[in-house]
């Protein structure tokens, strides 16, 4: 037995007032949906958290009409007035941060430490940041005319953060929104609806419609939507691009990734190891910009992998609400099946699989942190997005080879460079075809920094000044 065992330190669920069922948020009111209700579960225990309404095409239409009705008044407000609402929302998010963090952890399966220290603070920061732009649009260089109604479809990996990335710039620019959260993680979006009411946001400015793919398709296809923003899989992104083509709707897509995290032999090894861990095991690897391909220089491969494996044995997997948990639950049975399938494939294609010894809970959806070595570029685990806690390790010999391998993917969302040599960082960053290049860090987000992909990782940028362009009639 270890000398220093941490006792369970669960965050209290009592801060969250879970309703047995939730409706849609349309025109400032919670209303019933016309479709059959669906259950949202806690992926760590498989217990049902609540029943949630399904929005049909008719419901979506009601939501879009409410947004359209609200558009005139909202876009007509002086920017400084819109800013007041956004600032108010940001402050309420901070005030209710514990509630939001616990609910996010419950519905998503992510560790409370991450929901508390990363997700929710960034959500508030995004609203603060774009509140600041609302009265300064004339200085951003994209004009000041909003587009109209934005239809937004977001994924389950960062439910509230993706909502913030979508809603904050949309509202700052004077648009109104209809947002569809993912069917496995609708609860924080519905809590956000309550925050909008608390902030006295005019009715119809924000509408939340819940449901699965069909609801999302109805949002995207609605003829009175002027702008579509989607974060999710490349596959669905393609469908959306097809639907939207020729309609005049403005479109931004933030899709999959297969980021290379490149470690040179002169890297700060201990911090590189932390960066690798943070790159692929943060949020159970459910991160579109996850550093899922580790490219390590052959001359330090052995020592780096030893250090990485040693570090992985200290990861704490278990109850997401425990404040000391590092790795939470996989979000859904479907996702777990996909991770298992690709991992099994990795083994059968000849890569070597390694996980630290760790017991998985018997209930819920779990996958141990996994490292594949002896991975070749041709293996499917090196080319396909796994979206789970699975790292593929490849090697390189020269900087040029590192760039070549890093770019050799249909995706191009992010990349990481680990070296103590500044000139090499700049040389690499120039050549990497990825929207975000991190140097000596990974998965670092800031509302002031634009985020988005090359190639099949999507188009358009979210965040920063660049993020305004997507919501203005340029």
């Amino acid at each position: 037995m270890a000398i220093f065992e941490y006792a369970p330190a669960p965050e209290s669920r009592d801060v969250v007032d879970l309703q047995p069922s939730y409706g849609l948020f349309i025109d400032g009111e919670f209303v019933d949906g016309s479709g059959p209700a669906f259950k949202t579960i806690n992926p760590a225990t498989e217990e049902t958290l609540a029943e949630v309404a399904t929005a049909t095409a008719d419901d979506v239409d009601r939501a879009v009409r409410a947004a359209r009705k609200a558009f005139g008044g909202w876009s007509g407000l002086p920017g400084a007035e819109r800013a007041k609402y956004l600032f108010r929302i940001a402050r309420i998010i901070q005030e209710r941060s514990r509630e939001l963090a616990v609910l996010e952890s419950l519905d998503n399966g992510k560790p409370i430490r991450e929901a508390r220290d990363v997700d929710v603070p960034l959500v508030a920061a995004h609203f603060f940041y774009y509140a600041g732009w609302a009265d300064k649009l004339a200085h951003a260089g994209f004009g000041t005319r909003p587009l109209g109604v934005a239809g937004q479809v977001i994924p389950w990996n960062f439910p509230l953060l993706m909502l913030a990335w979508k809603i904050a710039p949309a509202l700052a620019c004077g648009n109104t929104v209809v947002l569809k959260p993912a069917e496995t993680t609708p609860l924080t979006a519905l809590l956000f609806a309550d925050i909008c009411r608390q902030a006295d946001l005019p009715a119809g400015v924000v509408n939340i419609v819940t449901g699965a793919g069909e609801t999302g398709a109805a949002v995207v296809a609605h003829p009175d939507v002027n702008k579509v923003a989607f974060t999710g899989s490349t596959e669905v992104g393609r469908l959306i691009a097809r639907t939207v083509a020729g309609t005049g709707k403005k479109l931004t897509l933030e899709l999959g990734g297969k980021a290379a995290n490149i470690v040179f032999d002169d890297a700060a090894i201990d911090q590189a190891v932390e960066g690798i861990v943070n790159g692929i095991f943060f949020n159970q690897g459910h991160v579109c910009c996850a550093g899922s391909r580790l490219l390590v220089q052959e001359s330090v491969q052995e020592e780096l992998l030893d250090a990485l494996k040693r570090r992985l044995t200290t990861l704490r997997l278990g109850d997401p609400l425990d404040k000391n948990t590092d790795i939470g639950a996989i979000n859904s049975a479907a996702q777990l099946a996909k991770i298992r399938e690709l991992s099994d494939l990795g083994e059968s294609e000849g890569a070597r699989r390694w996980s630290p010894e760790c017991e998985l809970p018997s209930k819920g959806f779990w996958f141990p942190p996994t490292v594949f070595t002896q991975v070749a570029q041709s293996h499917r685990i090196a080319t396909e997005e796994i979206f789970g806690p699975v790292l593929s390790v490849l090697t390189f010999r020269t900087p040029a080879e590192a760039v070549e391998k890093a770019n050799n993917t249909p995706y191009g969302l992010s990349a990481g460079i680990w070296t103590e040599k500044g000139s090499r960082i700049l040389w690499m960053a120039d050549r990497l075809r990825a929207g975000v290049v991190w140097a000596n860090t990974f998965n670092k987000f800031d509302p002031a920094s634009p985020f988005g992909g090359y190639k099949e990782s999507g188009y358009g940028r979210e965040g920063g000044l660049h993020g305004l362009e997507a919501y203005l009639d340029v």
Binding site: A2, I3, F4, E5, Y6, A7, P8, A9, A44, T45, R113, D117, D265, D266, A267, A268, I269, D270, Q271, A272, E274, G275, S299, V300, E302, E303, D306, A307, K309, R310, L312, T313, T314, L315, R316, L317, G318, D319, D322, K323, N324, T325, P356, E357, C358, E359, L360, P361, K363, E420, N440, T441
Partner: protein, 346 residues
Amino acid sequence: MAALRCPYGGGDPGRDRPKAPGLEVETLVGDAVVVSTVTSSLADVASSDAALRAFLHGLPGVDRVGADQRAAVLGTRSIKTTAKAAAIDLAISMVDLTTLEGADTAGKVRAMCAKAMRPGGDAPRVAAVCVYPDLVAVAVEALKGSGVRVASVATAFPSGRTSPEIKVSETGMAVAAGADEIDMVIDRGAFLSGRYMKVFEEIVAVKAACGDAHLKVILETGELATYDNVRRASWLAMLAGADFIKTSTGKVSPAATPSVTLIMLEAVRDFRAATGRQVGVKPAGGIRTTKDAIKNLVLVNETAGDDWLTPEWFRLGASSLLNDLLMQREKLATGRYAGPDHFTLD
């Protein structure tokens, strides 16, 4: 559902276990933690100023942002109930109860020694008391047979600004007076001006003067300023024979920050993997609360591991910390805080 911890060391056994005792390990080439620039044996590392410099500068760098971030995350560990109770007792047993004031007297030292042996209630005794050399005899007398060790600062503590001869003779006098442990300071001036061999030779000389006494080498990390320097100084001290590496004198701020302790823990971990010799770590200065102490234990637990979680290999240099530990200990046992006057001032 309880947190399921992947047990430490469940991964690749043998990798970070001692390979051979002593410093005379044959070669470092190709070893896990050692940089590719090292081509000579570890014994040769200090064969010349140039070799020593090349070795220390060949160590992997430390990225400040990343190191601070890791220390901060470990600082969020929530240690409650039974874990907290165990941690408090472990922390008490690791305290080097210290008084290093110009106004120290035999009476003050005797009072502190009494507290060191019986801190209060059924709390364990502390690891050692730490005093100036001229008060070693007093402490030795007061602690006789208690198991509490006597540590003495030496080598012109805290600045270290005197001749090597005086440093060595001061060490010898403290040992002769019965000190079990010597806390020496390195010559930061020499270190910062790149004269690593001078620093190395002084440590070797003081180590020789220590005889059987354990040598703790104080790096005074607050004056070394960069984390790269902290790592280099750690290795330098270990190569020169330090039994312990210690962050600070307590006279300079910042003292034992979590990041610095983290880097030193990484250094002793890597040093053992490379040489098989285990070296202890002692953060000192600025550790005042139970929370600080527990954060230090978390750093040890998740960086160096179980092998360092004993008073033999990890110490907390502090004076006021002990009372806070005792206060929290009582709070855990009784459910309420007792007033400060329920804890003796010594």
